[in-house]
Amino acid sequence: MSQLFSKENKEIFSSPLNLNNPVTVQVLGICSALAVTVQLEPAIVMGLSVTVITAFANVIISLLRKTVPNRIRIIVQLVVVATLVTLVSQVLKAYAYDVSVQLSVYVGLIITNCILMGRLEAFAMQNGPWASFLDGVGSGLGYAWILVAVGFVRELFGAGTLLGIQVIPDVCYEWGYANNGMMTMPAMALIIVGCIIWATRAINDKK
């Protein structure tokens, strides 16, 4: 057990959460961060779906890495990702229909999420399954927490709700507070992501 959670493995897991975050440092997966973060719930589901898919795709590719012909390795990676995405999308349709309607095409578009291909090519092709699994979960969660943070801000200020429940009391609206329509626009997601990048860099530079 001690080997499974050695210092190196812990670092593989934790670095994408902060120091090497796929969104704020590598600036990958921005498109979906704009699309699904108007509300908190789809952001959470999207984050979890991507985490599950990166983790398993990493494990599968890592297991196959010695057999994959070099010339078609990208195709093999794509097929693995596409298969997993289709599976997740089917499962969502069967067991979380409302959420799958909300996410609509964006579940399918996980296939094109650069984080996945990036991790497969850069990490899983060179490392063992367990390290790859940790890297996948770490990268997925690193992406997920940004999505949740952006979704939190956008839903709170854009609609005055969180997870569909009103949190800003009616009194505030009577006193002249208004929801910020800008927050519901994709452009605002970029600005919030920019602010998160700014904040995380400022903090990390000080260390």
């Binding site: 108007v38 010695k66 097929v79 089917q90 069967a94 229909y97 854009g158 609609a159 929801n179 927050m183």
Partner: protein, 223 residues
């Protein structure tokens, strides 16, 4: 083993594709019944929402639908009935759901239209005078979040309740429509639109107006 030879590469790709194909086909056929059930339940939920039965628990949708919706007619353009049942799964012909809420007959008419970015659809429930709107449900594929997407909210749909389908003295042309926010002139047939979502509201107006217009013959036959 040489993993870079042509034979290996082709063999690898072929085996991989076959495995993936079987896996996906298997999962798809296992989950299909559950997914179809969800789609069906969702449609029933929407029809019930038009009858102002909202916020139902998943388990009670089926029972409520059975209790309220008496038949799903398929009708011809001249308003005559083509089939007494089977409208629920009909895709091309006009469909009318005959319902009964608290002893009063209601008719639900499915309508479809075009929004700003994608398709719109909805269900309009009328009283049996074919003049007063009992309730409306509508939704959209991809209208702008926070602006056009407001049409899917109950608050907007409630504005239709009690409106009239026809203006006074004209029982041939549907007058019910949505106008620009704050420009309501004739309160009986005009619904206040959404600020910042004029194009979506125009789509809703065309859908509601044009959709009901298709059923005018049916109204006249059954009045």
């Amino acid at each position: 083993m040489n993993t870079n030879s042509n034979g290996y590469t082709i063999g690898y790709a072929a085996v991989m594709v076959i495995i993936v194909a079987f896996l996906l086909a298997f999962v798809s056929s296992v989950l299909k019944p559950t997914q179809d059930k969800n789609v069906e339940l969702d449609k029933k939920k929407q029809i019930l929402a038009a009858l102002n039965q909202r916020g139902l628990e998943k388990d009670s949708i089926e029972a409520t639908y059975e209790a309220l919706v008496k038949s799903d007619l398929i009708i011809n353009e001249d308003g005559s009935v083509k089939a007494e049942n089977g409208g629920f799964n009909e895709k091309n012909d006009l469909v009318v759901y005959v319902c009964e809420v608290e002893g009063a007959k209601k008719y639900v008419f499915p309508v479809t239209g075009k929004g700003l970015w994608g398709g719109l659809w909805g269900y309009i429930a009328l009283n049996d005078d074919f003049q007063t709107v009992f309730g409306v449900y509508m939704s959209h594929e991809s209208e702008t979040a926070g602006l056009g997407s407001v049409i899917a909210e109950e608050k907007f749909q409630k504005k239709f309740d009690g409106k009239s389908v026809f203006a006074e003295g004209d029982a041939e042309h549907v007058a019910l429509t949505v106008v620009k926010a704050g420009k309501v002139a004739n309160d009986a047939v005009e619904v206040d639109g959404i600020t910042g979502a004029t194009l979506t509201c125009n789509g809703v107006a065309a859908m509601v107006n044009g959709g009901l217009q298709q059923y005018v013959n049916f109204f006249n036959v059954n009045k």
